[in-house]
Amino acid sequence: MKHIADAFKRDKALIAYICAGDPTPDATTKIVHALIRAGADLIELGLPFSDPIADGPTIQAASQRSLQAGMNPDLFFDLVKTLPKTIPYAVMTYYNLIFHRGTMTFAKDCRNHGIAGIIVPDLPPEEADELGEACKKYNLDLIHFIAPTTTPERIERIIQSSSGFIYLVARLGVTGAREDLEDRTKSLIQQVHTDIPKAVGFGISNPQQAKEIINAGADGIIVGSAIVDMIARNTDDINKAVEEIETLTRKLKEGITR
């Protein structure tokens, strides 16, 4: 099984997010294969939650499609198990699902099914002791966020407790594809001094943005809503979605490859 760190070893990393089970587990499998073909270095698999406060309309809708289709944590791990292990996976979900399963059980399930890292948008380091221990025990990376509002001292402390990579939030707000890039994204990248890889997410949708972010000093980019949008537009023709996603992913990958 690959580690999160493997994603950053060769080159700048392209991290792709999709919501597992959106619109079906089969679709997820197809899309994962396409992402890998197109050069994704790490896949974030969303485990959908009923109340995703950190997500914009695109990923909210994906979560709802997936839940409606019957996705749950048990099925999630079953699905993950079947995916090719040529790249590492992280699970992205909200804390209540982890808490409810039990942090130890959840971490163990991750380890056993091929998940190398856990990303929890509503779990700041202050509340992460319990899950942190579970991750340590099962040799998983617990990914923390740094946001444009994070103060310098806080950045220092988050770096201290991080492993795998640090998730830099490109802008205020929630997930969702956008065309522009804010100046403060670049200055945020430059503010975070660490050897741990820095990947930037929230609102990245095109190669131009991706390139700029890498040029500003990031070690990876995270693309979610742009990919999920393609699924949303093609829920009844998943092959079309797969095609579009593969094309986009290739272009993004090119954008960040010097």
């Binding site: 939650f49 009923s50 109340d51 995703p52 406060i53 950190a54 997500d55 914009g56 309309p57 909210q60 709802q64 839940l67 749950n72 944590p73 048990d74 909200y94 804390y95 209540n96 699902l97 808490f99 409810h100 399963r101 948008p121 509503d122 779990l123 700041p124 380091p125 202050e126 509340e127 992460a128 002791d129 923390h144 966020f145 740094i146 946001a147 444009p148 509002t149 994070t150 103060t151 806080r154 402390r157 988050i158 201290q160 407790s161 939030v169 205020l172 707000g173 929630v174």
Partner: protein, 391 residues
Amino acid sequence: MENNKKSKFGKYGGQFVPEVLMPALYELEESYKKYKEDPQFIAELHDYRSNFAGRPTPLYHARRLSKEYGITVYLKREDLVHGGAHKLNNTIGQTLLAKYMGKKRIIAETGAGQHGTAAAMAASSIGIPSEIYMGAKDIKRQEMNVYRMKLLGAKVHTVTSGSQTLKDAINEAMRDWATNVETTFYVLGSIVGPHPYPAMVHDFQSIIGNEAKAQILEKEGRLPDSIIACTGGGSNAMGIFHPFLNEDVELYAIEAGGSGLKTTKTAALHSASLCVGEDGVLHGARTKILQDKYGQILESSSIAPGLDYAGVGPELSRLVDCGRVIADNIQDFEALEAFHELSQLEGIIPALESSHAVAYLKKADDLGDLVIINVSGRGDKDLNTVMDRGI
């Protein structure tokens, strides 16, 4: 990063929010700590409470209700607060704090529209723009409150995600806050959410209990045997309970039993999180919540829109666990009976929320001889609902 002990009520509470909001929570905590000791803030808060909200509210000896139940019943009259519910106690406090903190706008979520109206009222009188998030379903069933908010100058956002009710409105407000956190103050409507909200709202609402304590001592020369309050998020309950926590007074938190304590695949037929909810994390805090076996949040249900919420304040979860507060619930039909009973016996039309507390008079085994019921709001907003069910 060390665990933030002060943000907890035992194991409950905490700050389960996106990183982007964490600095704002610290800023809020600092500012609140500073201004709550600031003489000018205190004076201004007192002025708005007295002259805008209409405090103190009376403690009314309900003679005919007392006779009916053979005990002495007092009603704490939060129904007389400007806007029609205790909600303004809190929105004035938070909105004033927003002004002192230099924020440029406030946002709020609302279910029934009571908190939204109270937030809009505070915002216009204090002179700061307000935007209110409300589920599409709630907007349909609470047309008048939507109109009130607009009249008051608030912008009302229709939330079409999820179950299109309060829980989704909170989600959406949090998303707005994450987007505009630097200029925006999120005015939360109950003792829920991440620290410092539960503690702060608790403080702003404690005026209810502080008044009630002085009033009952003046009128009866002793403390009551029990206090009953309806409980959605729990702000009116904690507001009246707080000064009695260390006294020999039984405290009853009455939740919405809806049409019974049953659950479908995605929805509870009730809102009784203290009674039958399980430990979990929702809207920034660990507390008792209604969830399925995987931890997905259930839709809740109640005839009283203000109680219709899948979570509850972490402080109440703690107090119920340790036995200091007794949680029970009242079904829709019992609340309706109490709504009619209080209207006819005392000339006070209670909110359907408050009717749950009133109904507990009948259901309770032994409340002692002297009881205070917190009438958290007036029922004018509920007339259509009750009308639809037949008088």
